[in-house]
Amino acid sequence: MNREQLFDLANQWFEQKGWKPFPFQTQTWTAFLQGKNGLLNAPTGSGKTYALWIPIVLDYIQKNPDYKTKHKPGLKAIWITPLRALSTEIKQAAERVINDLDLNLTVGIRTGDTSSAERAKQKNKMPDLLITTPESMQLMLASKGYENLFKSCSAIVIDEWHELLGSKRGVQTELALSRLKTIAPAMRIWGISATIGNLHQAMEVLLGPESQQLENSVMIKAHINKKINVHSIIPDKMDSYPWRGHMGLHLIDEVAQIIKKSRTTLVFTNVRAQCEIWYQALLEKYPEFAGEMAMHHGSISRETRQWVEQAIRDEQLKAVICTSSLDLGVDFAPVETVIQIGGPKGVARFLQRAGRSGHRPGEESNIYFLATHALELVEASALRRAVKETVVEDRIPYLNSWDVLVQYLVTLAVSDGFYPKQIYNEVKSTFCYQAMTEDEWQWILNFITRGSQSLQAYDEYKKVEIEDDGKFKVNSRAIALRHRMQIGTIVGDAVMNVKYMGGGYIGNIEEWFISKLKPGDVFIFAGRKLELYRTKNMEVLVRRANPTAKAQHASWMGGRMTLSAQMSELLREELYAANTKKMSAELKALTPVFKRQRKESIVPNDSEFLIETFKTREGYHAIFYPFEGRYVHEALASLLAYRISLLSPITFSLAYNDYGFELLSDKEIDMQQVLDNDLFTPRHLHYDLQQSLNATEMARRKFRDIAVISGLVFTGYPGKVVKTKHLQSSSQLIFEVFKDHEPDNLLFLQAYRETFEHQLEEGRLLLALERIQQQTTVWKQCEKPTPFSFPIITDRLRERLSSETLADRIKRMTALYMK
């Protein structure tokens, strides 16, 4: 069949469904059938799935004219999705095409949920189309004879590539692709991405810099301009608006009204604890929602989540309280309205969430923004502008992630073994490792074979062995087993499974939360009141609690997000407008707050850099307001604290949010000295920042993921209790050992580098310091905390920095005694 005939086939199918292909879909079909690679820029729920399933199928028809009678065995295409929850939908889409076109192709799913029996079956006979996740892809590379499984593959699609790009799972994907390019040279590589600032870079990372694939590639944009209406929920009276508090429950009645007026509403919260609290609060105040309202977040069991998703589609639910767990995924047509509680911290995320509503043709998206504290209303106003001007942030890809490389090389050694010469070239061809030196490569090889760089007496390190012909191979079955289990580990805080005593899995919860509870304590999780019976291994056994019992909400540490550079700029512009006549509705509503702020201090304009100092029972506070976003403030806070600590011995506790940062101490900070010594200078920035990093614990926290991914810490597999006799150790402890005994270890150094490149964003920091240099510093000595300072000084998640001796500090402190 020629292309025209193939297209007729596809067009007819669309017609049967009562659809008409979008231009971006046919463009993708053409490019794919021309043998091109590419990146498709299309939002969730736009029909992107058919943009790629169709040409994959057409390609098979073209190559196998007798496709109706004969079946050619072997894997044809791989579809990688970041969320295994989405795999069923993708499978259904593929099967629809296959069944209607009378093809006898099979579609299989391979994720962490796939049973071992099913996996074994797939190994014997691969499905024609395989849907999988980055982790499961790695696991397949860890099985013997994987080359045979993949060699017939002619296409791979990486769905939601923007989600993977800025993460280590993205690096995992880059490495898997580098291997597949060799095994299956005929394979086309396609990515699908929502709109992000660096789409071209996203394509380069996916296909490989200077690769043949990149040369023979195309970017296709969907150009679906749906109208998005952004509304702020502003109460009638602003006097009662809280200065802080991240729940936003004071607007519960307004939220209930919106839910009542709309067919289905998704209520997005930023963290899981907030999700739980909103769900409870709505049910308590509006019992009529019972049965029509559900909750959806990443810690709830898969069955429950799938039930909720189906119920949304079936229009059985008025409202779903959710977290980013519902950001992705296929259409939820009945959703008319979206409510965002608290700052979404990113325009791309906000747009994506807004886009979950109004999916029917001709409908508009409606998103309500609920500011949880007064200053967040400024963010609402900035967001509206961002949506109008489509200001979208970049996703920064990782560079030289040694931990992922260590994991990948051990993976290859576990399956068929590898020869470094060949793999070096493949690894070097990826975006992540393009700048890797031969020395660094050798270091990694030494690390996985010897566990260090020099051979030492009495060493029994065992992982990868070098065989006589130079092949790198894992021969120990125990090591291979542990490694395979580790690959699937989703890096995050240690989680424990929550189960009823009589059986029945409810979900998972972070270990640190459970460790605070005693048997008999009651907590609210997954919308239920549960009593802790006991914890054993990685399981938390619970029973239903008395409904009247006093309970605390389960909480999670993860998920603190920050404003992007572009968003911070919009935010500053909005705030500076507070001193002008051109105020948005949100800013006008904030008038009482600004009045209060001006009583003690000022609302700065674009030429002013505000510093406030005051004393409370807690100590001496100094608050700085660069309005640059959380990550930049983290860096600025530790930089400034470090520089001040050089003037005289002092100990700081640091806190930050998107608006500013605080240095808190038990001694008064000599602010005049700070200003006289020009401590905000961009000079020696890199060196000072590095010094301040050594003095704080940021790198130590980064090291956690690195230790898990590189296999230094064995965590076991989520949900499975594995016997690890005498092998438990915290990554913190390992960090300390490296610090004392092997400070030049590349994995140890990576923790510092990641803090710089990924978290501290040194480039942004430099720009911020230069901007501050241009401004006039306004130092206000206040009597008491101002509205601007309030959300910062009440934040409990803090960093510490000290230049005093331990002995001096201990003398001024007391032990935390039993209550």
């Binding site: 690390f447 566990g451 260090s452 030492q456 009495y458 060493d459 029994e460 390190y461 065992k462 992982k463 120990s476 125990a478 090591i479 542990r482 490694h483 807690e618 100590g619 001496y620 100990t651 700081f652 506790s653 808190l664 101490s665 038990d666 001694k667 296999g711 230094l712 810490v713 064995f714 006799k725 005498h726 092998l727 150790s729 915290s730 913190q732 402890l733 390992i734 050992v737 490296f738 004392d740 005994h741 092997e742 270890n745 803090r798 510490r800 331990l806 002995a807 500090r809 201990i810 001024r812 402190m813 007391t814 032990a815 935390l816 005694y817 039993m818």
Partner: protein, 210 residues
């Protein structure tokens, strides 16, 4: 570096490494050394720096040189897990040190007692000495003052300006003292003292009574 104290009118010296010296008996008490832990991890594919293993022996030599004891009593968890090549280093250390050694067996001490007997190390479950009860797990027994380990105690301190510190310590109450872990690659467990408990914090330089 050290701090002299009295327990039931008997003098003891605390060392910042976590060692406890009993001058009256010229005996050094050490708990939770966890020798072999680094090797155990390495043998299972976790590349903990090898140098940490040598550090334990350096520390042992340093405290022996400082106190010049006539005997050493280990309060359990001397060797972390099953036998590995660090045992050879331990054998060499034992033959160089030329002192009577005694081990109160801990939960980690799973190596066959014969291996200790070969080195002339006596193993006991507990030891009673002049009104002191030496054990691995902390224990209260009428009429005795208990010296033990196992817990790896640390204490959390707080001060003005939201300052917090977590430091390993000797944890003492009326009839008991728990020693901090001596070993290099060992963690800590935060204990919450009562008002009447005494805490001796150990830092890299000194021992400080709170």
């Amino acid at each position: 570096m050290t701090l002299e104290i009295e327990i039931n009118n008997i003098a003891f010296i605390l060392h910042n490494t976590g060692a406890l010296y009993w001058p009256g008996k010229k005996m050094l008490l050490l708990s939770d050394v966890h020798l072999g832990k680094v090797s155990h991890f390495r043998k299972h594919g976790s590349a903990i720096p090898n140098n940490a293993m040598f550090q334990n022996f350096k520390k042992l030599d340093a405290v022996v040189k400082h106190f010049e004891p006539e005997s050493i009593c280990f309060l359990g968890d001397l060797f972390h897990s099953s036998l590995n090549k660090e045992w050879i280093l331990f054998e060499q250390w034992v033959s160089n040190i030329r002192l009577p050694l005694l081990l109160i067996a801990g939960n980690h001490d799973i190596i066959s007692p014969h291996k200790y007997e070969e080195l002339n190390i006596a193993i006991h479950n507990e030891w009673i000495l002049d009104g002191f009860l030496l054990t691995h797990h902390p224990e209260t027994r009428e009429g005795f003052f208990n010296l033990s380990g196992h817990v790896h105690p640390a204490v959390q301190l707080q001060g003005m300006g939201r300052q917090f510190l977590k430091l390993p310590c000797f944890f003492r109450n009326k009839n008991q003292m728990i020693l901090p872990a001596f070993g290099e690659f060992t963690g800590t467990y935060v204990v919450e003292p009562q008002q009447e408990d005494i805490i001796y914090i150990t830092t890299k330089e000194e021992v400080i009574r709170l």
